[in-house]
């Protein structure tokens, strides 16, 4: 009486079995093919390596090296990726870019149009790594595409920055003005001085994330020429931007006139006290010492810790800390002095 149910259950069982078998066959074939492919690529790599090495170091071109198939091009790509990590000489780097353009241009042009997101991303990474400047136009036209993933957009901008594309400021402030600070930072870090200065000029009109990114990049580069600019920002802005600018000043670790910063040691915001304490520490500014000792019992832990560190940077820092440890009645200050006296390595 259950014949019908039994029948449908059997059908279900058999079809699941079929799916399983297909899955298994697919997995096995895939693995087999993968293994063979990577063996082949490995062989090509062995064959090409000496030739490519000669070309890179001596600049002798070889006619024997003519990658045609995808696997052969993969081998070249793989080899170049290995070399790019180790070579330092500018001349060799240029040769590598040349070789990459010679062998991989067509291949990459096709791959940039691939339907697979991962293929396109990989290609962008390689173009960037090999510094293939001939792709400037291709990458630029990519940024104009409507349907593009966020990752691709940001990466395209990074490449354009690396290639010192002239209109980068314009792009970043029009079509690309809603990127995150983090993305901007990546892009700006790749610009040369001339290009970066354009952003400094634009600073006051920029959106908040871009402003933050500009200040962060200055903090990273620590270049003295930007000091007047960031000092100007510290006095004309407030809040987050002011704080970032102060951080940049502290990173550079030099100012012409210390007085405005001494006042910041009394700021109502603990972040400002922190940055100011850091700055006077790296400047070893004697005038700030009494206040630094007071800051050892600041209410914010970070400020206390920074005060301790700043004091220990002074030539007589150890003595000062020891005096605090012996005479202070404040437990926090004692703790902090103790810690910076016994800081270890």
């Amino acid at each position: 009486m259950f014949n019908k149910e039994l029948f449908s259950l059997s059908v279900l069982t058999i079809s699941i079995l079929c799916i399983l078998v297909i899955l298994l066959v697919y997995l096995i074939l895939r693995k087999e093919l993968d293994i063979r492919k990577s063996e082949k690529v490995e062989n090509y790599i062995k064959k090409y390596n000496p030739l490519l090495f000669l070309m890179l170091t001596e600049g002798v071109y070889s006619r024997k090296l003519r990658p045609k198939t995808t696997l052969q091009k993969k081998a070249i790509e793989e080899l170049l990726s290995r070399y790019i990590k180790v070579i330092e000489v500018t001349e060799e780097k240029e040769r590598l870019s040349e070789l990459a353009s010679m062998y991989l241009t067509e291949y990459y042009r096709k791959r940039l149009k691939s339907l697979k997101w991962s293929t396109r991303m990989n290609t962008l990474y390689h173009i960037e790594d090999f510094n293939m400047i001939s792709f400037l136009e291709d990458v630029y036209s990519l940024t104009k595409k409507k349907r593009l993933s966020h990752e691709e957009r940001v990466h395209a901008m990074r490449i354009l920055a690396l290639f010192q594309f002239k209109q980068i400021l314009q792009l970043l402030t029009t079509n690309y003005k809603h990127l995150a600070e983090y993305d901007y930072r990546h892009i700006l870090l790749r610009l040369n001085k001339h290009q970066f200065d354009q952003f400094i000029l634009y600073f006051h009109k920029a959106e908040l994330p871009l402003q933050k990114a500009i200040l962060e990049v200055i903090s990273i580069k620590r270049e003295l020429i930007y000091l007047p600019f960031i000092e100007n920002i510290t006095s004309s802005y407030s809040g987050e931007i002011k704080l970032r600018a102060l951080k940049a000043v502290a990173q550079i670790g030099y100012v012409k006139n210390i007085n405005p910063y001494l006042n910041l040691l009394y700021s109502a915001k603990w972040e400002e006290r922190l940055v100011a304490a850091k700055l006077v520490g790296s400047l070893k500014e004697e005038k700030a010492m009494p206040r630094l000792i007071e800051l050892l019992h600041d209410q914010a832990w970070w400020v206390r810790s920074q005060a301790g560190q700043s004091i220990s940077q002074f030539a007589n820092g150890q003595d000062v800390l020891r005096t605090v440890l012996e005479t202070s009645k404040d437990a926090f200050a004692k703790d902090m002095a103790w810690e910076w006296l016994h800081k270890g390595v």
Binding site: F2, L9, L20, L27, I28, S118, Y182, E216, M336, L341
Partner: protein, 470 residues
């Protein structure tokens, strides 16, 4: 007359089981599809290259690695060595000696030339008292804290209080990290501009692999059936389950073995709870809860690629203990936060994730066990057709293997860690046998966990560390 009633029970119960199975299968299928789409998108992305960028990023967030150690003298030096060689620009390793009774403390002190330092520890979370603090004279980023025994959670809290960096990672003393694991696990945090506040990686099974000097030399499949079954289980759990859940911010578990958290948020949530055996899951649930209550749109994610290799139990006794403990930990985490269940205030966590963990993860084994008992009863008391039973049995064997093989497929698409064709065939054959022995065993153990809990038996609750390696 009584026979007729038995028939009614049979029908009702069979119907119940059928409905339950359909729900479970539907759920797993949806999760599988989500995971497949996700992994397929990133198929063959050249990951190594992607992460290289971050290496040079000065802004890559520094991480404090906290290693709670309780009687680990055999493995601790290896673990620490493996950690000190990770590929990450800024990190510190904090070993917290949780009142070990063996020579753990002395071994580290000797091997890494630890010197006592004075340091003010910010006590942001209450812990048991700590003793001396040491810093290595060889590696300035290696610290050792000695404290009274207080359990793994307490040791982690001490590490949290001490740590200098904005992110921390908790790591079991007996696991081995792949070189790029930190770069990869930090990537979502950096990429999202701190919208992601915790991120966990995959945990894989090290049994059967060759490990030398805290590094994986060769990946292989173990010959022990119990281990192969666990490998399949881990593949399914990580590649299918977690990717699917993570995609919609429903992730309630970041494995205690390997995960990175934003310190601020963990401290805001109150650190690890010391009175549960499932402190890792409980913390994630509490963080989700905090986020919802504060109305924050932060995320907790899983990234398949960074891999942490860990040793799993090779014999029944330890596996049984582990499973009982896990199940109890699961229950405790759900019970402590029971008010989230079906509470629309907690959004998808309350309406999807919690019901899933209750119905499928927690009650699943209990329902399955009653199913097994029921089948046995039916054999004696009659009421089922033997053809039906055989077919249903076959079906359950096969459908289980479908998910297992799908997990292997996902592995092939994403990580491809197992190098040989024979590995795949082996995984396939073993997965076919799961329903016959492994599944019933784990079901039984998990039910034992529930039973012990009901009895109020806490004897094994004190076992803080996996009794596995060495």
């Amino acid at each position: 007359m009584p026979f007729f009633q038995w028939g009614d029970i049979v029908t009702a119960f069979a119907l119940f089981i059928a409905v339950y199975m359909v729900i479970v299968i539907l759920f797993y299928t949806i999760i599988l599809v989500i995971s497949m789409i996700q992994l397929r998108k990133e198929y063959q992305l050249d990951r190594v290259q992607v992460y290289e960028d971050y290496m040079e990023e000065i802004y890559t967030k520094p991480v404090s690695i906290i290693v709670p150690a309780y009687n680990e003298e055999a493995g601790i030096i290896h673990s620490v060595r493996s950690l000190l060689s990770v590929n990450y620009p800024a990190f510190e390793v904090i070993v917290v000696n949780d009142g070990s009774t063996d020579h753990t403390l002395q071994k580290i002190k000797d091997h890494y030339d630890m010197k006592e330092i004075k340091k003010v520890v910010r006590r942001q979370i209450n812990t048991k008292p700590i003793g001396k603090i040491y810093q290595s004279a060889i590696f300035a980023n290696l610290f050792l804290i000695d404290k009274e025994n207080g359990g793994k959670a307490d040791a982690l809290n001490v590490g949290l209080n001490f740590s200098h960096y904005p992110y921390f990672c908790s790591l079991d003393g007996d696991s081995v990290l792949e070189q790029d694991a930190f770069l990869k696990v930090m990537k979502p945090i950096i990429d999202s501009n701190e919208e992601v506040i915790a991120s966990g990686g995959s945990v894989r099974i090290a049994n059967g692999c060759q490990i030398r000097n805290g590094r994986i030399q060769k990946i292989g499949l173990s010959d022990k059936p119990l281990v192969v079954m666990q490998i399949i289980e881990y593949l399914r759990a990580f590649l299918m389950g977690r990717i699917g859940l993570s995609r919609h911010n429903l992730l309630l578990i970041i494995s205690g073995a390997f995960g990175v958290f934003s310190k601020n948020w963990v401290i805001a949530a109150g650190g690890y709870r010391t009175d549960t055996v499932g402190e890792d899951m409980e913390l994630v649930v509490r963080m989700h809860r905090l986020l919802k209550e504060k109305g924050q749109k932060k995320k907790i994610v899983y990234v398949p690629d960074p891999v942490c290799w860990t040793e799993v139990p090779e014999d029944m006794t330890f596996l049984r203990r582990q499973r009982r403990r896990w199940h109890r930990g699961l229950f405790e985490s759900l019970w402590i936060h029971k008010k989230i269940t079906f509470n629309p205030k907690y959004g998808s966590i309350g309406l999807l994730a919690f019901p899933y963990f209750w119905i499928i993860e927690f009650f699943g084994p209990i329902i399955e066990l009653t199913g097994y008992i029921f089948m046995l009863l039916c054999l004696f008391l009659g009421g089922i057709y033997i053809e039906f039973a055989i077919l249903l049995f076959l079906l359950s064997c096969l459908y289980g293997s479908i998910f297992s093989m799908a997990a292997v497929l996902l592995e092939e698409w994403s990580l491809t860690r197992y190098p040989k064709v024979s590995d795949i065939i082996k995984l396939f054959l073993y997965s076919l046998t799961e329903t016959i022995w492994y599944r019933p065993l784990t079901v039984l153990w998990r039910c034992e966990g529930v039973w012990q809990m009901l009895k109020g038996d806490k004897s094994w609750g004190e076992m803080k560390r996996k009794g596995v390696s060495e």
